[in-house]
């Protein structure tokens, strides 16, 4: 049981009309593992995240999580089982104050089951979570409406919303994009900590250097297909990858 994978994606395919966004992809991830997903623009990374979280339904293939087939469950039910995500395009609740954004995940059945986030305490839990992802304690930022927060804070807020759900698996869709080097450097320890806590993490990234430092394993997508899998060095060495992706990027 200890070594069985937490998530298993099996031959999953997604077609949008004529486009095959994800083609027969298979992979696994274990507890405490950090899996990187890379690939050129439009290679199907976000679609893969949407398939795992239930925002799009697969054309064929299965997904098992905690040994249970989840491929037909709606998104909120997958969250209840322990899958949380961030969105590439951040999706905060703009009219709410930053910390109030977290009240919504804290109202979910998942949180009630895990901890019983009782009414009235949720505000405190929310403020603690924001501090955890790098909102300065006692600054006013946490109380500002999300609509006026800069990108760096919105990304952190997105991460906090996922962490609030006590996830076993977190999918981070280009969390680092649009952030400065310093901001990325300050978020990496937060991710490392989540891994130490035994959570499985899937990081979709374009920022290869930072990803390669922390990822245990990497899969590479191109035109919806998995063209390589391995640790950073193995992936870099692969011919297919050089052709499809890294080759195109050497300036």
């Amino acid at each position: 049981m200890h070594n069985s994978p937490l998530l298993r994606v099996n031959n999953i395919t997604k077609r949008f009309g004529g486009i095959t966004a994800v083609n027969e992809i298979t992979f696994e991830i274990k507890k405490g593992e950090l899996l990187g997903v890379i690939g050129p623009n439009g290679s199907g990374k976000t679609t893969l995240a949407n398939l795992i979280t239930g925002f799009v339904k697969p054309t064929s293939g299965t997904i098992t999580f905690h040994g249970k087939d989840i491929h037909s469950l709606p998104p909120h039910k997958r969250v209840l089982l322990g899958i949380a995500r961030t969105f590439q395009m951040v999706k905060p609740f703009y009219q709410l104050a930053a910390y109030k954004n977290l009240i919504i995940p804290l109202c979910s059945q998942r949180v009630k089951d895990m901890e019983g986030g009782k009414y009235g305490e949720r505000d405190d839990i929310a403020l603690d979570l924001l501090e955890e992802v790098g909102f300065e304690r006692d600054s006013r930022v946490a109380y500002k409406p999300a609509s006026i927060l800069p990108q760096g804070y919105l990304k952190r807020l997105e991460l906090a919303k996922a962490i609030a759900l006590f996830p076993d698996l977190i999918i981070l869709d280009e969390l680092f994009s649009g952030l400065s080097l310093a901001e990325v450097a300050s978020i990496i320890p937060i991710i490392e900590k989540l891994r130490v806590q035994g959570k499985a993490i899937i990081m979709i990234e374009h920022r290869l250097k930072e990803l390669f430092r922390i990822a245990d394993r990497i899969i590479v997508l191109n035109f919806g297909e998995k063209i390589a899998e391995g640790n950073a060095d193995e992936v870099m060495e692969s011919k297919a990858v050089k052709n499809a992706y890294l080759g195109a990027e050497t300036e």
Partner: protein, 333 residues
């Protein structure tokens, strides 16, 4: 040098936000008057009114209730163009129960709220998947559908309607029942939206995908909101049935759909207090304009436009801002 308007919280607002509010009468008054004043006005206004204007006040209450129902749906991202559905369904549930089974109004009204509320929820639930204008258009069609159904199938009195229904046992109830109900719903809804569950609804309005990815079943929340809004709207219809002692096809009229929207827009969408304030302005205005006969609708439309252009956020948010903040011009370099 350019100038910019700056808004600053009034000192008394800041003090009253905190526990210090308990330290002086002035602060306590500042905090409580926005709640106490409307209650006093709504409940005691009738004493000073002629029977004719009491009748208008009754109408204000009914439209105020429909506006509250509209604003509740709106705050969850459902823009209803068919408030008359709730009004009409409530009216027919109460009317038929009274006509065919002789139920007392004290029974038909709560029954119409619960059964009518459930009925509307069941019809509207399949529509909540529709976004924006698609949801709205369908709500516009539904009341017309029921109106034509009753006409064509000749059920529930057909075009004649059902007459001779039982009146409320005490005539003072005809005014105070809707006014009390209006107050309860107003403060109840405001309280609910300020709770954590209200936040979830605001979240659904903002971004439903983000709510789903927060592990929340948005359909349950939407169903709950639909039921609350339907039940409240059904109350208005059921109540009116026992005032007019009649129920017929006019209960599905467009007025009951349009006026709640106009009230909400004029008063301030998303505040509950605004839509009620809007009803308090628009319904009497429409009465005053009666003397202009055919030109009534022209003047009415003009006033609507003036209100909306002058205060696009609505009257209530404007008053609230003045109450809580003062403005001054500052120079910016």
């Amino acid at each position: 040098m350019a100038k910019r308007k700056e808004r600053i919280d009034r000192g008394i607002k800041v003090r009253s936000d905190d526990i210090f509010a308990l330290s002086s009468w002035r602060e306590m008054l500042y905090l409580s008057s926005p709640r106490v004043l409307p209650i006093v006005i709504i409940l005691f206004l009738a004493i000073f009114l002629s029977p004719y204007w009491q009748r208008v006040l009754l109408s204000v209450a009914v439209f105020g209730i429909l506006s509250l129902s509209w604003d509740m749906l709106n705050q969850t991202g459902m823009i209803s163009l068919g408030q008359s559905l709730f009004f009409g369904i409530g009216a027919y549930f109460a009317g038929t129960m009274n006509h065919y089974f002789g139920w007392h109004p004290f029974l038909t009204i709560p029954f119409a709220m619960i059964a009518g509320g459930l009925f509307c929820t069941v019809i509207l639930m399949p529509l909540v998947r529709l976004r924006g204008i698609y949801f709205s258009m369908t709500t516009l069609i539904l009341p017309i559908f029921f109106e034509r159904l009753i006409e064509a199938a000749r059920i529930f009195g057909g075009t004649e309607g059902l007459t001779g229904l039982q009146s409320l046992p005490y005539s003072w109830l005809e005014l105070y029942l809707p006014l009390l109900f209006l107050l309860i719903v107003l403060f109840g809804f405001r309280r609910f939206m300020a709770s954590d569950y209200g936040l979830v609804l605001k979240g659904i309005h903002d971004n439903d995908q983000s709510v789903k990815s927060s592990g929340i079943n948005i359909n349950i929340y939407k169903a709950f909101v639909l039921f609350m809004a339907s039940a409240v709207g059904c109350f208005a219809g059921a109540f009116i049935t026992h005032v007019y002692l009649f129920v017929g096809m006019p209960v599905f009229a467009l007025d009951y759909s349009i006026l709640p929207i106009a009230s909400s827009v004029v008063g301030g969408v998303g505040t509950f207090a605004g839509p009620v304030l809007g009803a308090f302005i628009l319904v009497p205005l429409s009465e005053i304009l009666r003397q202009f006969g055919g030109l009534r609708i022209v003047f009415y439309g003009m006033f609507l436009v003036i209100f909306i252009v002058a205060l696009p956020d609505g009257i209530f948010p404007y008053i609230q801002r003045k109450y809580q903040q003062f403005e001054r011009w500052v120079e910016v370099k």
